[in-house]
């Protein structure tokens, strides 16, 4: 499954970069995230609770590793999540493009292999769910960014 798109953040690139590396932000922003902690430099693990369409929500263990980091412009995420409903594995390429002093465009493209019950039963909904989750995640990050820009953190 390919998930790709662009998102515009009204902030300088370094600010967006920092935001994206912060597990606390990701934990708040990521739909269904129960816990997300850094376990090393660029490695994270966590627990999500998610369902897809007819597949009842269940817990997923998530491991993320950031690779090929070129601050503040690009990195690759290796994603490995598994749970009772199946697994999702793959990588996502994230690029931050400076489009103004306080404007950054994020381009992302994830190539994910989905397996198990979610793949067999949720296929027709997977794309929609992926899009929805991405939107919710980005909206969540937008809110966090907003808080940061207003100096609330």
């Amino acid at each position: 499954m390919i998930v790709e798109g662009e998102h515009r953040f009204p902030a300088p690139r370094q600010t967006v970069w920092d935001l994206l590396q912060d597990p606390l932000v990701l934990e708040k922003a990521m739909p269904g995230a129960r816990r997300l902690v850094a376990t090393g430099d660029g490695t994270y693990e966590g627990v999500l609770r998610l369902g897809v369409g007819p597949v009842t929500a269940a817990e997923w263990k998530l491991n993320v590793e950031l690779r090929d980091r070129v601050p503040p412009s690009s990195y690759t995420m290796l994603i490995d999540s598994k749970g009772a409903l199946g697994f999702t594995r793959g990588s996502a390429k994230v690029e931050l493009i400076e489009t103004g002093p306080a404007a950054t465009t994020m381009r992302y493209k994830a190539d994910l292999q989905v397996g198990g019950k979610v793949a067999g039963l949720g296929q027709r909904l997977l794309d929609q769910v992926a899009k929805m989750m991405t939107k919710q995640g980005l909206d969540g990050m937008g809110k966090e960014l907003d808080r940061r820009l207003k100096g609330l953190n």
């Binding site: 697994f87 594995r89 292999q113 397996g115 019950k117 793949a119 067999g120 039963l121 296929q123």
Partner: protein
């Protein structure tokens, strides 16, 4: 049509559409299906199945599942000890020169690695299915994913990841078979056509999924297993061997089963090995009922093949020869040997005289569900390739597609027809009988082939695109090794017939009764048939290969004939007259023409089993006989299908307007049952051709594992089939029977492809794949449009 006038019209004997004996039980909801079995203290099973198509198992943590209240046991491969064994190879490879066969059969629970998504890894036994299902989520299996092997050609590449490391290759088999000398003969060809053909997987989609219930009676030391299998006797024999029991200690019952279609002849499924073992270990009855999602992953499937085939013809359209190289997807394991691809290899020849044939196939292991026969069992692929090649050759020659078939049929005078290649029963492929041309002519008359061009023109004027397809096939049926039957006249006068077959809706309770009733001259409704219970009858193989009516029907015939002889002998003694003066009339025996001296069969049955006096030396008590039938050769059914479709080139939707089947299954026992089989087969075939496809992604993950996404044709998509029967009696069995269970679905894909092309001649479509779908046909139409569009102007930089 050649209907033999029945000797006793109206009695429902052979050749008449007797009402079905089983329908009362089925229609009133009183038929027993395995899931109806409820036993006190019964435990329930759920399986943790692999999410991965190919992965190493690093570890399994079952502790949380075990701690869940209501969970009785949680088993992994390690817990099975010596009981963990790969399953048996059901069909060894035939003795073909140059053949390679690499055996790798399924295991009860995956150990060390998983080889397809849905492979069982952990078995949970609990007080209810709910608890067992909940406990599945408590089990943690740690996998290290391996690169999945999905594509058939990539699987054979030297650096491909291995599914079975011990084999050193993903090649499951290589089988070359030839007759004549294609290489030399092709030099004289006027036209050679060649294509790559794809046939892909579908599900058998029986209405009833698999189900196993086992109960160990410790005091009687008896194991009873209810199983949806098509082969109860081999299951009993195998379980007895695996469990260290006498065969007489194991009773396997395959009661009413809601559709078999082949996957239920597969044995031994992991679940049917495990449930009885667990029932014995725990001393409690255990049930596992497959759910629909499990069925999509764990019940065997069929039809993945890729053929590179060519046909050489002379200027008159006569076939010089065919060369075929194909890959067969056998899935993760190959317990069923080579039956499916050998059927493809043999059935390709069809009703045609093919002087030179050069065929080789490679069976390939893939990280997908195991492949074993599904209704048609490889025949579809062969027929599709052959029929498509004939269509292409006719097109090249500018010849009518029906005419090229007519010119190549084996003549009525050329039977029996002996080929030199080996069939699935290990005998050289042999056509016992047939008469193809009149079958074709009848189908052409029914579909009005001669007038179709005009009909097509008129439809086109209304903006409708219609097309006709006419295809032929031959189907080897009724193969050995044997079946048996016991026929008993009970003291009530009712007749009991027991046979070892399992039954899955074929009407066995009626057709076997008809065969026996005719011989004993009793009412069909007075004949009680029992199938699929090893306690009733313990010898036999199973229901497969369109052989039930032929082989078990012939055994019933033989047993009834032997009982008839006992009736006559006993009556002669009782009446004090010579045997040849005894006649049987409507359930009574009497001296010829003297109804006043008649004795009922009921009374005679009592006399044959007296409580006092002496049984005459050299006779047996009772009016009972057991007989077996083992045909040396199968019987060859054949037919022609004609289809009329309407295609909307904008939406790529195809509507089947008419479907005509002219079929020759030898003598008909019960025409309505034959028609039901054909109608159901056509529905299966239409699904296979245009609706049903299992979509696997490149990771071996099934994408449509539910009926939300896997389309079955509905009653609206399947027309009522217009049928005619031809009866060329089979010489190898006493009733002249041939099988019919698979016929309806065998040439359907080929008919579809031809008819769609015929409906849209302006597109010049070249359909080389099945299943199609509106989406796929839309893509084909788009590429045809693109190909015929004028060259685009060079792009301006």
């Amino acid at each position: 049509m050649h209907h033999h006038p029945p000797e006793h019209p109206g009695r429902g004997y052979v050749g008449e559409s007797a009402p079905r004996n089983e329908d009362r039980r089925l229609l009133t909801g009183n038929a027993l299906f395995v899931d109806d079995v409820q036993l006190e203290g019964m435990l329930h099973v759920a399986f943790k199945r692999s999410d991965h198509a190919h992965a190493t198992i690093l570890g399994i943590d079952t502790s949380a599942a075990l701690a869940r209240p209501g969970v009785v046991a949680v088993l992994t491969a390690e817990d099975l000890g010596d009981y963990w064994q790969p399953g048996p190879l059901l069909v060894p490879p035939p003795p073909v020169q140059g053949l390679v066969f690499n055996q790798a059969t399924q295991v009860p629970l995956a150990k060390g690695k998983v080889r397809h998504a849905g492979e069982p890894v952990v078995m949970i036994i609990a007080e209810s299915r709910y608890i067992a299902e909940d406990a599945l989520d408590d089990v943690w299996v740690d996998y290290e994913p391996l690169e999945p092997v999905v594509d058939l050609e990539a699987a054979l590449a030297p650096d491909a990841p291995l599914i079975h490391e011990q084999l050193g290759t993903n090649l499951a088999a290589f089988v070359p078979q030839t007759h004549g000398d294609y290489e030399a003969a092709v030099k004289d060809a006027h036209v050679v056509v060649s294509r790559r053909f794809h046939y892909d997987r579908g599900a058998s989609a029986a209405m009833e999924n698999r189900c196993v219930v086992a109960n160990w009676n410790a005091r009687a030391e008896e194991l009873t297993v209810w199983d949806t299998t098509q082969a109860p006797i081999p299951i009993r024999n195998g379980l007895a061997r695996m469990l260290g029991l006498l065969e007489s200690q194991v009773r396997v019952v395959a009661p009413f089963v809601g559709g078999g279609f082949g996957p239920k002849i597969m044995m031994f499924y992991p679940e049917e090995v495990l449930v009885p073992w667990v029932a014995m270990r725990l001393g409690r009855p255990v049930k596992w009922a497959e759910d629909r999602q499990e069925n999509f992953y764990a019940t065997t499937q069929e039809r993945g093949q890729v053929h590179d085939a060519e046909m050489a013809v002379d200027a008159d359209g006569r076939i010089i020869g065919v060369r075929d190289r194909f890959l067969h997807d056998t899935g993760a394991y190959d317990p069923y040997g080579l039956t499916v691809p050998i059927n493809s290899q043999c059935t390709l020849l069809g009703p045609y005289d093919v002087p030179h044939y050069d065929s080789e196939f490679r069976a390939v292991f893939t990280n997908r569900t195991t492949v074993t026969p599904v209704r048609g069992a490889g025949r579809q692929h062969g027929v599709f390739v052959m029929e498509r090649l004939l269509d292409l050759a006719a097109r090249e020659l500018g010849m009518d597609r029906v005419e090229i078939r007519r010119r190549n049929y084996i003549g009525a005078e050329d039977f029996p027809h002996q080929w030199r290649i080996l069939f699935q029963d290990f005998s050289p492929l042999y056509y016992d009988s047939g008469n193809y041309l009149p079958t074709l002519e009848k189908a052409l008359e029914m579909v009005d082939y001669a007038g179709f061009a005009e009909e097509q023109r008129r439809a086109r004027e209304q903006g409708r695109r219609i097309g006709v397809g006419v295809v032929s096939y031959v189907e080897g049926t009724g193969i050995g090794p044997y079946e048996g039957a016991r026929v008993t006249i009970e003291p009530s006068g009712r007749v009991r017939v027991a046979t070892g077959l399992g039954t899955q809706g074929q009407g066995h309770y009626t057709v076997f009764a008809q065969v026996v009733a005719e011989i004993l001259d009793v009412d069909v409704a007075q004949v009680n048939v029992v199938t699929g219970d090893t306690r009733e009858f313990g010898w036999g193989t199973g229901t497969f290969a369109s052989r039930g009516a032929v082989v078990a029907g012939s055994a019933c015939h033989a047993a009834a004939t032997a009982v008839r002889a006992k009736v006559l002998a006993t009556a002669a003694r009782v009446l004090g007259i010579p045997e040849d003066e005894v006649e049987i009339v409507s359930g009574r025996v009497q001296p010829r023409g003297q109804p006043e001296r008649a004795i009922t069969l009921a009374a005679l049955s009592g006399m044959a089993n007296p409580l006092r006096g002496a049984v005459v030396p050299g006779t047996e008590p009772g009016l009972e006989a057991t007989a077996y039938f083992g045909p040396e050769k199968g019987s060859t059914a054949s037919g022609v299908h004609a289809i009329v479709v309407e295609v909307d080139p904008e939406t790529a939707m195809v509507k089947v307007l008419r479907y005509i089947v002219v079929h020759d299954c030898g003598r008909l026992i019960n025409p309505v049952i034959v028609e039901g089989q054909v109608q159901g087969g056509v529905a299966h075939g239409i699904g296979n051709a245009f609706y049903e496809k299992l979509h696997f992604d490149e990771g071996g993950q099934l994408q449509n594992a539910s009926f939300m996404d896997y389309l079955l044709p509905t009653a609206l998509d399947v027309p009522r089939v217009e049928m005619a029967h031809r009866e060329t009696p089979a010489p190898e069995n006493p009733l002249g029977l041939k099988g019919v269970g698979e016929a309806g679905c065998i040439p359907t894909g080929a008919a579809f492809a031809q008819a769609i092309e015929d409906a849209l001649p302006e597109y010049g479509l070249d359909i080389t794949e099945i299943p199609l779908s509106p989406n796929r046909l839309f893509e084909l139409l788009e590429s045809a449009r693109a190909a015929s569009a004028p060259e685009p102007a060079p792009a301006v930089p």
